[in-house]
Symmetry: C2
Subunit: 406 residues, 2 copies
């Protein structure tokens, strides 16, 4: 029944525990093929080829891995590139967008956007050089977040920047609807695909996306702190990278400080590409392409719907409450569940039951369903273990613990 079941064995699983890992929305599991990449890039290329590696594949690694990610997004070759981290990429993209909108004043985002994104948008306003300001629309308890957001769009809107799937509740915006509303008032949109890429369908062409960034260590399984990516539609020639370093110029190896920006997406590079960590991104993306996003998404919906049903049946009586949208079209691949002692429940699950969800303050647990390595049995067992834990009094044992990273 589960046509993706075999992918599970192409990820690393610890021999030391019977772990159910439901935090792939935060840090994805390691593809087994990472070992071969290390052998190639670290042992052979860095170890033996040394500087010659630049002429043997490193030079274009940001673009070649970017193109693979682009395939997941429905982008054309040359529209996606790896760079730094999501926040730095968002800054570059946002400043570029705002400098192309000098006569409009307003940057719209919503309260459920990732906090770093909101902070970065403010930084971008400070650097763009005009008088842009960020307006944060409160969608935290909106019954219709889209309506709430669109009510704030007007002729002063320079840019709308949102997380395609929100990090907490997993709310998913309709890309096309927002992009079309923005276009009507000549506003740009800038999407953060961190919680959606590799989990839900994205087709930048039919969805009308012009500018986006995203993270590679969640559903793309690129490893902790893997570089992020920028997508820029190839017709957006007027957008300029505000941090112009040598790798973003037409001829970095001319060593000429007057070298003009590169022509394509490459112009959004800044410094030397993170070769080793870029290479580690490839195996996870290749597996997603092999599986096909249609099947991945179908399983994502299946897993999360099953989890929601079991929550309603078995966990609601124990004080839990699903806080993610129930319509799968309005949701990503993780499900947020309220519990008054959510942090203690999470710690107990991790430390006593070998289930890893994560906790987002003040009272939400997130359960992420990465379709390539999560089974339907994992979903059932998770709910079983939560019930056991609560009935056993396990929550009380972890009430006073507060780890550095929740």
């Amino acid at each position: 029944m589960d046509s993706l079941a075999d992918f599970r064995n192409r990820f690393v699983h610890s021999p030391h525990d019977d772990l159910i890992y439901l935090d792939g929305n935060s840090l994805g599991r390691q593809p087994a093929a990472v070992g071969q990449v290390i052998e190639q890039v670290v042992n052979r290329e860095w170890g033996e080829r040394l500087i010659r590696g630049w002429n043997e594949g490193w030079l274009d690694i940001s673009g070649s891995v970017g193109d693979l990610i682009g395939e997941l997004l429905g982008a054309r070759s040359g529209e996606v590139i790896l760079a730094e981290n999501t926040s730095a990429c968002l800054y570059k993209a946002a400043v570029a967008a705002l400098r192309s909108q000098p006569e409009k004043s307003n940057v719209l985002t919503d309260s459920e956007n990732f906090p770093s994104d909101i902070q970065i948008l403010r930084s971008a306003c400070d650097s763009a050089g005009f008088h842009h300001k960020v307006t944060v629309v409160d969608t935290s308890s909106a019954s219709d977040p889209t309506g709430a957001l669109l009510a704030a769009v007007d002729d002063s809107t320079a840019l709308i920047s949102l997380s395609h799937v929100s990090y907490k509740a997993g709310w998913r915006w309709n890309l096309k609807e927002i992009n079309e509303a923005a276009a009507k008032v000549d506003a740009l949109t800038l999407w953060d695909f961190s919680h959606s890429v590799g989990a839900v369908p994205i087709d930048v062409q039919s969805d009308g996306v012009t500018l986006a960034v995203g993270c590679t260590y969640k559903y793309l399984n690129g490893g902790p702190g893997a570089p992020a990516f920028i997508y820029l539609r190839s017709d957006q020639d007027h957008l300029a990278n505000p941090i112009t370093g040598w790798f973003g110029t037409a001829e970095p190896f001319s060593f000429d400080a007057s070298s003009p920006p590169a022509s394509g997406i490459q112009r959004f590079l800044t410094g030397t590409p993170h070769v080793v960590s870029a290479a580690l991104i490839r195996p996870g993306v290749e597996m997603l392409l092999e599986a096909g996003m249609d099947r991945v998404y179908e399983k994502s919906v299946g897993l999360s719907q099953r989890f929601i049903e079991l929550c309603d049946q078995r966990l609601s009586p124990l004080g839990f409450e699903v806080r993610s949208p129930r319509d799968p079209q309005r949701r990503g691949s993780h499900v947020a569940v309220f519990h008054p002692d959510a942090q203690a429940v999470g710690l107990a699950l991790i430390n006593e039951k070998s289930v890893i969800p994560d906790f987002r303050p003040p009272d939400l647990l997130r359960f992420g369903f990465a379709p390539l390595y999560t089974s339907f049995t994992d979903v059932d067992s998770t709910v079983d273990r939560i019930v056991e834990l609560v009935e056993d009094g396990g929550v009380d044992r972890w009430r006073n613990e507060t780890p550095l990273v929740p």
Copy 2:
């Protein structure tokens, strides 16, 4: 005689060639201990501990590896942090510096600075929000670069930003002299230590350095595209990171978009640290600390002086000419050598003689002497092989080749 000779075996050497690697000024050799780091960080931590890694060492990795680099610089704990790449770090540091100097207009650098640095300084002027402009002092043929630079310093100088050791000729500025001259007119200085850290002595405290960035994949042997570092003296509280993302805030895991900046150097972080590539930096830095910068520098001078002497004796008659400063106090750990067919000589050396220098257009070869893995015999053999090559007509065989990366 060479008290550092044993370190050579603590680096990876290919079994396939008899390589003399003189490009450690561009990409350092791989420490043998990298294999253990991979085993720990990739196999154990990412592979098995997964998200728990954040509570088991990842959270502070930018600072803990930064502190190790800080020891090389004579910095205090908490003054150095890893982030992105050198160009992005330079941008953050430069914008921070310029925003603290709103009433001064001029950013001084010199023509021998790395081109990306000059471009980044221009980007920083565009983003700082005032009316700063970059002035590039031409020191390319100055007999007294310091005099030429200082002649351009005046009350309008907001910032002086230079590469401590220049990437081409290997010219080394006197940190203290420039910092003192800047202080006299209330200008800030921002140093790029990319070509000096791990090769020549730096003592940020006695040298009066307030702000610096640097690369970790040259003499620190951190691997291709390893993250860069920022040094900020701990009393510079007024300097603010212009790209404020969650990892630069006081409480990233409060998920609060109004979290204020972190108090120390951590505020210059932006997005998620590059955990894997950060961890790979540690072994190289630890070896330098074990060797001690005094011994490293003594050997650096010994190697480069010997090379210069042999060039004068044996290569000058063949059309080569040393173009680096002859005073070791004015030089880094690489030596630039002119030849009218420098690129062809370099390619012939790499492909026929198993010696790797590098080429910088239009007519310079660079020979880098990384003291931990370069022997005095390497220096002698290099000169022997160059002589053989030229006498054998090898240069002619490579005259029409132009690799992507020179």
